[in-house]
Structure formats: C-alpha cells, structure tokens
Amino acid sequence: MELSDWELVQKCQAGEIAAFQELVVRYYHKVFLVVLGVLNHQEDALEVAQETFLRAYKKIKGFRGGSAFYTWLYRIAVNLSIDFQRRQKRSPMEFRETLDDVIDEREESGRDPFCSLQSKEIGKKLVAAIDDLTPDHRAVIVMRAVEGLSYKDISRILGCSEGTVMSRLHYARKKLQEKLGPFL
C-alpha cells in the first residue's frame, strides 16, 4: 500500500532517508517544472530544484502538517527561485539561446518538441514573453497553468490573498496574449 505524503514526512522526521527519497520521486519533476517556469533557464532550474529538496530535508523536522506537503515544498521552491532570479538578473537573450539549444538537440534526435503547438516559433515567442514578466507573475501562471493548482493553494504558497493571485494571473495572461497575439 502506498504511503501518504504525511506518513512519509513522519518517517523522514524519524531519520529515514529512504522515505525522503520517495518524496523526491513524487515531486522532483513538478518542482523542476515550477522552478523552470520562474527562472526560464535549464541549468539554474536544476540547481534551484535540488537546493529546494536539500532545504526541505533540513527543515522537515519543523513541518507539522498544517498544510499539504506539496504546498510547503512549492513555497520553498518558489521563494528560492524568486530570490535566485533577483540575484542573477540574466539577460533575456541567454534564455532564448537556451531554448534554441533544447530545440536543436531534440530535432537532432528526430523529435519535434513543439508538435502539439504546431510551431517552434510559438515556443520561442513564449519564452521571450515569459522573460518580460516579473518572477511573481511567472510563479502564479506556472502554478496555475502547468500544475493546475487552485487559487487558494497558490495564495498559501505565495503568502498573499486569493485576490492578488487572480489579479497577477489576469495580468500575466494579458501580457502573454499581447506578445503572442498572432500565434494564438
């Protein structure tokens, strides 16, 4: 029988690193997606996603289960990502080059990375449009659009009101629509 997140957390608190490994299995991909959405850079996202789990492991004894484990984990991930982004201030060109590398790599392996979008161009435009959003706006839209989290969960993760989540989401969508208008 599969253990719940809370049961695994309790085992971690008792010092079982194998239980923590199980939590990493469950969430590493989701955490990476959120961090990648905020940072828009593969290598930085990998670094921050790993740091997220390290911080979670160090702080897990203080987790009392007042919220869902993933809410707590995402809060660490988003805070680290936003801090990282503010410190780094990479140029947008760097992000685009990164995406170009990914696209080229996938094309060489015979897979079209944007088959569902029917265009590579929209992928590039999207990455460039995301660059123009603030980390806070990126975090909201990624958690909603990619992870499908509710406004309530997002507000808990970011420590703001649901109204703020709605307005940030609306702003981010409008900005992306403006940039991608002809491609949508």
């Binding site: 990493v24 991909h29 990476f32 944007f114 909603r144 990619v146 609306h170 992306l176």
Partner: protein, 181 residues
C-alpha cells in the same frame, strides 16, 4: 437569466480555472456555446495555457531521477566546513534586497550603544571613552595660557608660557599655528 458578454469576460478566467460555483459555471458555459466572440477568447486562453504547459514539459522532459537524486543525496550527506556554511549564509542573507533591514538595524544599534553610555554608569566602549579631557588655550597680551582638564581623575593642569617671537615667525612660515608648550 442570460449573461452578457461583459459579464462573461469578467468570469472567463475563473471559469477556465474551475474557480466558479456550479450555477455560475453553467451560466458561463451556456453563454460560450452561443457566443462566437467569447468562444474565441476562451480558445485563445486555452491555447496559451496549453502552449505554456507544453513548452515547459518539453524542456523538462530530459530530467532523469537518478542523477537528480544522487546530487540531492550527496548534498544532504555532505558536511560542509563551518567557514563554507558561514559564507553560504552571508551570500544568502547579505544581498541588496535583503539589506533593506540592515541600515535601520545599524542605526538603532548605534543609538542604543550611545544611550547606554549616558544611562548606565560605568558603561563604555573601552577604557577612557568617558574620560573626557579638554585643552583650552587663551592668548592675551603676549602671555599664553593653556588649561588642560581631565574629568575622570579631576586633574587640571595650567600652562603659562610666552611666545618666542623670532622662532615663532620662522615656525609660522613652515607650519602655521604650531605653538610650543
């Protein structure tokens, strides 16, 4: 009651995000079936959401669990030397965005130190900090008087001296205001 386009536009994102209650969601849904303009807005928003999800998933698709976990595990088991931990802490804490609290804290700390020196007898930053001493000099009619007062030992020293005019003129050229006591 039928909804108007303006009303639907306000609720469209919440409808897509499944944040409306059942009756509101049904009203928006039935309007979308009839209204081509609002349906187009819905299609664009859904397309945007799909595009965002797909682009991120494509970029994250190469992430394998084993190397990811190996690195996390290595960092968990790694015992960093104290100076590296300290540097990490400094890097994390002392970057400009976090330093906004530091300036008021430093000001309050300095004010506290100065207040303590006034309020608590015997408090001081070091030997002699409250041992105020002063030298006053009076020059009149060729007679110079210098008074040195030191509060801690309640010592007063008075010098009375005369300028040696010839030497002073020469000294004034090289070092103005240089008096000999």
């Amino acid at each position: 009651m039928k909804m108007h386009c303006e009303e639907v536009q306000r609720s469209l994102e919440a409808w897509l995000d499944r944040e409306l209650n059942q009756s509101e969601a049904e009203r928006v849904g039935s309007h979308l079936l009839e209204c081509p303009l609002c349906s187009e807005d819905r299609r664009q928003l859904e397309h945007l959401q799909d595009a965002l999800r797909n682009s991120l998933e494509v970029r994250a698709s190469g992430l394998a669990f084993e190397p990811f976990w190996s690195e996390v595990r290595r960092r968990i088991l790694e015992q960093k030397p104290w100076h590296v931990q300290f540097l990490d802490w400094v890097r994390f804490t002392l970057y400009p965005a976090r330093l906004t609290w530091a300036i008021p804290v430093v000001i309050v700390f300095l004010l506290l130190i100065l207040s303590l020196e006034q309020l608590v007898p015997g408090w001081g930053l070091g030997p002699g900090t409250s041992n105020l001493a002063a030298v006053e000099s009076i020059d009149g009619h060729g007679l110079n008087v210098a008074v040195f007062r030191e509060s801690k030992t309640k010592t007063t020293v008075i010098w009375i001296f005369q300028n040696q005019e010839g030497e002073d003129e020469a000294a004034d050229e090289s070092a103005p205001g240089d008096n000999t006591f």
